[in-house]
Symmetry: C3
Subunit: 670 residues, 3 copies
């Protein structure tokens, strides 16, 4: 069964309404709900008094309609009775001000009392629901995030550092605290990188970012351990915030879970733009799939305009269904829409559900109703099928944190750069995995490592062995600059991969507004366009590599900007400048060719292609993200799962915001 | 006598200067001064020691020249000896930081000790001046404002809530604290909506805004009570900050006063623009007149460039006099200029008076001197005359506060929207009253309720009965969304007025930059222009109403945007989209026609028209706000009060920044 | 010997590297290093334990290569053991938040314990190095700055005020605390001008700015006294931050030093622009020379891209050498480059030195190597030579602080205005001294006093006597407005110089965006261009002066904007409006002519000219700041010191970013 459901808050509505809601869900083909992740004050209205009967009754009504249940542990939003026990329970912001009550996620993730009270409610829930027939799994907390700078965290950070470095001498040496006389003679002297401290030591700041991330990993682990023990038959997940969230190393947070889940809103208050960028959405998905290199769930799929103070642009007709299928195309094995009915109360009054305030089913309910019917037919065929990219892109949280501390350029953004490189492959319908540095690369033909700023020995060695064995590796500017302690290496850049690149960085220019440069390609297969580059321009000196492109302007005109090095059976391309689509487009095509990777399919701009494999059967998702009908030439006979199995040949016509799921016609027994 | 005066600070100048100043005032026709509202440290130089003799001497000198006195209670700016008694006396900002000494308005309005010390100085002043022949009235404090977030206020807020809701159950239910587990089990748990708390519960936030407003109302009431008891013959007022100020419900603050007063500076540091918008100025005045539905005073009429750190644009020649007459045109019955002489010391060194630092009378003094002479002739005719608008616009502080909490759109502003609708009537010379929702509407033919977001039963009923009896009502987008607790209603929008409108809101689109739509009118009398709309676009579904306009673009092209519903003897027009002048202009004309309201007069753009009635005699103010001479065609024979009574016929020519006060020629016995 | 060196941090590198570094320095002609100014934690690793042997060894290695040493006292960056002793040691920001550890300059400059511990380390260093043969001088601390708003400073401020005003009555009168009831009845009531206090009393705020400046002067003095006593043979200096730094009265800070030093980075993170403005660089230098009216040092001359979080634009080829010679051209007698090798650790990882992280000498090392060779040949001729400007510009820190408090206009900037006026003379190759108001002016023919807002009696008298004796004085708008206590004068503006100007300010207009005016000159020698003016426009009324220019627009069209007054043997020109190059250009030419000053040389735009005199021998620096070769016509026969003495006649051709040092050919005995 393909899990298809909604996030539901029965506690926010009169009990007499529950059965009506459940009927409407059932009618729309929904078979799973997430419950209770913000219900702490209802489940434990005063300390130590637990009330689950309301929840039991809600689950009963749902299960009678064949709807199964995922339970959320409620620790993301603590009750007032708890937080009024001590101001110390509250998170401290990076400006040194302590959070106050009234929103959510205001707790310090390292506070022992918060851990203790959280442990108790999770244990109570686990014991109560361990053997409940309708409960299938758990979501821990909700959208972990936000660094805390409180004294409890400062002490925990010092303890964390002691474990990491054993001695203060090592720490002082790794951080280089001789600089500005910062040598620490006692662990307790080590500060947090508060804004009131100004630009901090990069080593300290990177370790603090890791520590803050680890704090949530540990808080989650405490809950996971309880659930593993009490509810061995249930899955355990957490709802992540996708590629965009930048305060937790998601690879680490994913480790203790069965699978990860994604909350993603292509249109919400914080993405208030006319157009959705489907490639950025795709990157969210590929990142989630990469966290554990396995399929994942959509725990919150957009159901309507999303906003707190601001109404987002309304999802256009067809978009909700299209986005939900896009999730599946990238590896989602379960989808829940957030939320069932728009809340009348609280901060999220403007966050729209499938039903309106007045309980009226909206056009959005209609779209999901339609998709529910489709999935009842085809869901089984898709469930468990997988993607098989031959290319991978390395997402390094260490580098991401390091660029948060020192962006290098006012307009350089590590995630934007990574997305821009990703986008070139996306446009050419070449699927990629998004994986962590250090992962075994032997399954790939092509690996892309954009701005791999913090580079460890082991990652460098893994890349070396990948290339030696025939892999194609792309490196971009500012790679290999830092060691694990965020110190600059004392060898020519790109440091540990300078040998692999066969080139070193002679110097780097940082371009202010009004400055730009462009490249001239030396290889005909890259075309004759001269792509504009800017932001950061490294002047390269080959030490064995060939020159792929040179600068055309300024004092480094004619000097190398891109090099290509043969290494073992493979090749390494190093790109020393930041460009745009006209740079990364030709590069992606050329690199794919070098690696022997072929696009999935030819399709016009704005049409996305992705594939899932059920053993040998391929399901090709063709998604029209434009507001015009698109004609897609077909390379053979296909059947479209979504229109009941009619045979297609010649041209596929897709209406705006619509899709097809193609499979080979000759094998498909409709 | 028409009161015409200045705000004067004798304590800031050598005593030997006072008589010279008084002579110059007398020469300019000034007959009233406001004194002492920043004189606390001079009247009570140390706690409990009161000194009024300096003030007695100043009043003596003034009264010898026939100048009467309004006294300010000095509580807006406490002395250093008081505020150094305890840090608790200081206001806390919304970021949680406590104010410090050195400006003004730094006090917590709920602090019991501040109340106590304030009560004592007011009592002393009241007793000393109760029977003084020259003293005619009182101004309480100065420009009440600014919310305080201190612990004293938190406790006072909890007490205020207890009075409002009686039980925590009711509060939890009204605010919907089930959302995010915020249920309060003890009044003391209820937080203030500090920025450190993030986006708060809308119910809590709206109640806090009301509470903060009520705090000043109560602080004022404490002072009013003393003055009523001790000085029954004196009037009591407060100087308001017009339509623009948004932190106090001015209708509530006005209730305990005899009349309200306005401080208004068309040109100051915070309105640093080349051009003054006379319609926005007119709105300030109409709001003040509406607060008690009676005439008001100008307590601070601009006398020169106004600024603290920044010099404002200098008032152009003629502007000071023009603005002063504009005040009268809208209902001012007294005018005081701020200030007499520019201060040499303190924060307001750049706030210019009628005299310069060097005591030189400026060209500004000259303008006021001229006006003084005019008012000596015509003032009596105007005093007590009133305006009689047939249209009213509803200003809802509840809605305004609610939009502060959730603006709905980054570029939506409730006051800007209200002004835009107001402006359409202003341009067509149709006078309006600005009144509170819930006011008896039976005196009006047309009522405009822009974005009446928070809507109570009683207001809805009042509007229903108004329409039923033949009134014309205009509603605009996002009306009727919230109940009194700032929860969304559970019925189709516009909620309580959906029946009145004969239409419901199907869905709402929020338009990001680069998105827009336009309307096509279905009625010929609205013209063939297709006005641009944007920001928020509601798709309407008539349930009885007719369609007045439809959208032309996007997925809701052809769907209704404006509807017209007959209800009883009246009509309701609902406008679902935010537009500009080309939308509200035709609408205002059409609605006025529907309501049987005729423009006062025809005049070119930039020429304002207003009228005051003294029993049956009409005084028509024609004000040229442009920097060009304007020719205005006359519809009959008139006499201009300002040029000594010459007869006018055919065309009136007004120099730039000049005006005429017309009255019917045949009746006016010059 | 011309001192030519680098800032070096041996403590940041392995000891075995030191000799290699010293060899490379020697090879580049470097003969001096600055050491130890961030070495506190290495010199005093725990309280009271001093370790100088590592520094002794480093100095030994350097001195063996003929490299001399300047020692920095390390108080700019305290060790962790010190700052962990008490939170009170940390500076408080103007928002009331206390600084935390992890950067530098986090200390309160008035804290007694910080003074005490600083005194001890300075004393230890002084005793240890008093008689060391290689040590030639001292730098106190590093880049003094930042105001502190802590309680210790509040008390120190109150004490400072008591010394300044003796009685509270005087203070209350001078500050005009009657305004807003701020009269202080106890010194302890006086607050600091924190942001939480809002717009402060201008008198209080100006005194606080002076006090904060004096705090650093006193902290420096404490150290200077120790060094004078212990190391009478050494010079003592501090590294200033040039004209741009605005929180310390640099004239006061310079007084206790032998000479001042400058840190200046034409390209760094905070000046992230494509182009460098060489005139602004020149102003930095002229300001430093003016502080003591003598030559100075460059303690930190840029050596590469400079940034903390952001890489600056890379210095273009030739720029480092050109800037270094520009320093000499303006009076530098010693130059040290910051820094030797780019740091691998700490906040300044992106601040590039002459050597890269990997110890590779860069192209930048190459440039400096070349210059080292040149200076070995010509340095002696330049050392001790001086500039002899006939014009001076007054830089008033009182006025600068006053404009920080009240900028008068959103786009008015005192330093930008001063630079704009300076720039007009710079472009015409007329050298100026930048000196303090009150300085003896008798040596000059022309004195320029831009926006001399705070004006004392003695400065006014000095200017009067200067003009009376034949000097030409230029005054600009907003001069003479304030007295020493930042109160506005009670006489017509420009106050104390109204008589000198022969004109008074009738009124002032402040121009918002979209407003502008222009001037018409009444004197043919000023040309027929009508320069645009704006920002602040004063309408002048001559009381004896002639009219030089009138306004062309708005209500003051035809009214005087510039006046010229004969006074004694001299003349005073008053300019009432803020203009640009087309205003100040003609004015500078005309005023120079009036004063009998001739340009040094004719040269195209972008070519700077400066001269130094060694007794009667003139060295003319001709610097090409453009990226094109420039042809400069010569007015006689010259020799270029930099190309070995070839004779030049007719035309000098300078490559981009290159220079010549010319001297009269007939006298120069190559």
């Amino acid at each position: 069964m393909f899990y298809f459901g909604v996030d539901y808050y029965p506690e926010q509505w009169p009990e007499e309404r529950w059965a009506v809601d459940a009927d409407l869900m059932q009618a729309a083909g929904l078979n799973v709900v997430r419950l209770a992740e913000f219900g702490w004050s209802r489940m434990e209205p005063e300390e130590g008094r637990y009330e689950f009967d309301w929840l039991d009754r809600a689950i009963q009504i749902l299960s009678e309609r064949g709807i199964q249940v995922i339970l959320g542990t409620p620790t993301a939003s603590p009750p007032a009775w708890l937080m009024s026990q001590s101001p110390d329970l509250f998170r401290v912001q990076d400006d040194g001000l302590r959070a106050t009550y009234g929103n959510r996620r205001e707790y310090c993730p390292n506070h022992p009392h918060y851990h203790e009270v959280s442990r108790r409610i999770v244990l109570q829930m686990a014991e109560h629901y361990a053997r409940h027939a309708s409960v299938i799994g758990w979501q821990i907390d909700n959208e972990f995030g936000q660094r805390c700078y409180c004294p409890v965290c400062q002490e925990a950070f010092q303890t964390w550092l002691r474990r990491r470095y054993s001695s203060l001498d090592t720490l002082n040496q790794k951080w280089g605290t001789t600089f500005w006389s910062h040598a620490y003679s006692n662990w307790s002297q080590i500060p947090l990188p508060l804004k009131t401290g100004g630009s901090p030591n990069p080593g300290l700041a990177l370790d603090f970012a890791r520590f803050a991330s680890d704090s949530y990993v540990a808080f989650q682990k405490m809950q996971v351990d309880i659930l593993r023990q009490k509810c061995p038959g249930h899955f355990v997940t957490h709802n992540f915030m996708g590629f965009d969230f930048d305060q937790i190393d998601y690879f680490e947070l994913a480790k203790d879970l069965d699978f990860v889940s994604l909350n993603h809103y292509p249109r919400d208050q914080w993405k208030f733009r006319a157009a959705v960028n489907p490639s950025r959405v795709a990157l969210q998905h590929d990142t989630m799939r990469g966290l554990k290199q396995r399929n994942y769930w959509m725990m919150e799929q957009q159901a309507g305009s999303g906003g707190w103070e601001i109404l987002s642009v309304a999802p256009r007709p067809g978009e909700l269904r299209l986005w939900a299928y896009q999730s599946i195309a990238h590896g989602a094995d379960g989808i829940l829409f957030f939320r069932w009915r728009t809340a009348r109360y609280g901060t999220e009054q403007l966050w729209n559900g499938l039903l309106d305030y007045d309980a009226r089913p909206t056009r959005r309910y209609g779209e999901i109703h339609k998709m529910g019917a489709e999935l009842r037919k085809i869901g089984e065929r898709l469930i468990g099928s997988t993607l098989k990219p031959e290319a991978a892109i390395l997402l390094s949280y260490d580098s991401r944190f390091a660029f948060q501390i020192q962006p290098n350029h006012p307009r350089f953004s590590y995630p934007a750069h990574l997305h821009q490189v990703y986008d070139a492959f996306y446009r050419q319908h070449i699927p990629v995995d998004v994986i962590a540095p250090g992962t075994d690369l032997s399954a790939y033909k092509l690996v892309v490592a954009p701005a791999l700023h913090v580079l460890t020995d082991s990652t460098a060695r893994e890349m070396e062995s990948f290339v030696k064995n025939g892999g194609v590796l792309l490196l971009t500017q500012r790679s290999g600059v830092k060691d694990e302690a965020n110190a600059v290496v004392d060898r020519p850049l790109p440091g540990l991969v300078a040998g692999l690149a066969g080139a070193i960085v002679e110097e780097v220019d940082s371009l202010a507004d009004g400055m730009s440069n462009s490249l001239e390609f030396c290889l005909p297969q890259l075309g004759s366009v001269q792509p504009e580059v800017g932001i950061l321009c490294e002047v390269l000196r080959p030490t064995g590599a060939g020159v792929v492109a040179t600068y055309t302007r300024d004092y480094y005109a004619g000097r190398p900007a891109i090099t290509q090095n043969r290494f073992g059976k493979g090749q390494v391309v190093y790109v020393g400048a930041v460009g745009g689509e006209e740079l990364y487009g030709p590069l992606a095509a050329w690199l794919s060719q070098l690696a022997g990777i072929h696009p999935l399919f030819q399709a016009p701009a704005g049409v996305e292609v992705s594939e899932r494999w059920q053993q040998d059967r391929r399901y090709l998702f063709v998604l029209n993200h434009t507001d015009l009908a698109q004609k897609i030439p077909l390379d053979g006979q296909y059947t479209n799962l979504l229109d009941g199995g009619s045979r297609l040949q010649g041209t596929l016509t897709l209406p705006p915001n619509d899709l097809a799921i193609l499979t080979a016609a000759d094998e498909y027994p409709y």
